[in-house]
Symmetry: C2
Subunit: 266 residues, 2 copies
Amino acid sequence: MLVIAERINASRKAIRAALEAMDAAAIQKEARAQDAAGADYIDVNGGTLPGREPELLCWLVDTVQAVSDKPLCLDSPDAAALAAALPRVRTKPPILNSISLERARFDGVLALALEHRTKLIALCQGESVPAASAEDKVALGAELVERLTRAGIAIGDIYVDPLVFPLGTDSRSAHATIEAIGELMRRFPGVHTTCGLSNVSHGLPARKLLNRTFLVAALSRGMDAAIVDPTDSQLMSTIYAAQAVFGRDEYCLGLIEAFQEGRLAA
Amino acid sequence: MLVIAERINASRKAIRAALEAMDAAAIQKEARAQDAAGADYIDVNGGTLPGREPELLCWLVDTVQAVSDKPLCLDSPDAAALAAALPRVRTKPPILNSISLERARFDGVLALALEHRTKLIALCQGESVPAASAEDKVALGAELVERLTRAGIAIGDIYVDPLVFPLGTDSRSAHATIEAIGELMRRFPGVHTTCGLSNVSHGLPARKLLNRTFLVAALSRGMDAAIVDPTDSQLMSTIYAAQAVFGRDEYCLGLIEAFQEGRLAA
């Protein structure tokens, strides 16, 4: 189970302010906290200031690597920003977040993944609207897996994200996403699946509860990575519990250790 | 989603003491609390005092019905105790908890269900050891559904419980149970599934967290009833969230109402 730490993202106000001020200490505090809380990868997203994304992504890579050895998840739809940042990565090969079937994105990001031998998050998003039904999500996911592996990406380096939409506007979206995860894991042995959680609860009360509930159901279908906030102890506790419940924690030793170390928010 | 309230059970110390003392006030306090907290059925179990189960089950039925209109779930493996209690039921038809394929139990409980037109919880338990693998759980569940419907029980009156075992001794049991629930719901349209949760976490830390995590995964496979403690607000909140996440709460109105009424423990 891969925990991709999501907090260093320009869509968050505090991070946007830190980016505008080039406040390395603020970024490094987030990096250290996520590293200590159990992140496997640290996502870095510098993308809301027009024209400055390549520069800021490079700065984020340097800034985070100065305080954490955790590998990075380079978060940009822009191949130029990824191309600028990749040569600066000193930790083990990063994840590129993300590729999709959109023509403007596919070739550029794929070439970088092949050149730098990275992992890839592959969004179930075609040229038009993203897939809503489980069938459409599986069809786009299958096309991604087939095109990427044909191009030379190892199947074990692909993390398919079926994309979940807000329940408030599409009450079937979470269920469709969960079904798609199960089907993709069955159809493509060795592939990984992941999902950003927070979209599911957009506009609703009890968002963290909804996000955790969706996460458990996705993990029960075999999802083996998630883009989450590892400093949220209830969420991390849910991941420990899910690993035990779904038979991925032999003798529940991981759960018991987390309990003994006081890391379980039961 | 049927919430079967589990607190009035002789295996709990306080209830055993209330049964020994025939303390109606203590039982009625539990009945009222579970009714108010959202129970759909109230389970009554009088079964640990040798030889007194028929008498005590009758007393529980009378005692609970004096303060709650909620239908009952008569909880005994003993057809004689169920036969004694059934004529006293004044609320709508109860659930009999439970029948299994064990010969000593099957015919007696089935005859009562047919006579009194009750619902039935059907345990995936044969004459020998209970089923451990998903395949064995489905096979026993299928045999129960087929034999019960052939005998005249409506499929919509059957609640199959695949029986989950402690993760500490069988780390695959929860996953097998969840898989069995999904397969039974697919194979027998109209049948219901349910599960007692707490066995899954026996002997482990963070039991309520594990129980909730297992519940979410089971609900994601279509389980539509559960034997739970409705006064546990975190558990009930998880049920509200799961109904929303799995597309069974149109426009999330149930979740939003629970939030507005202060019933969500997020």
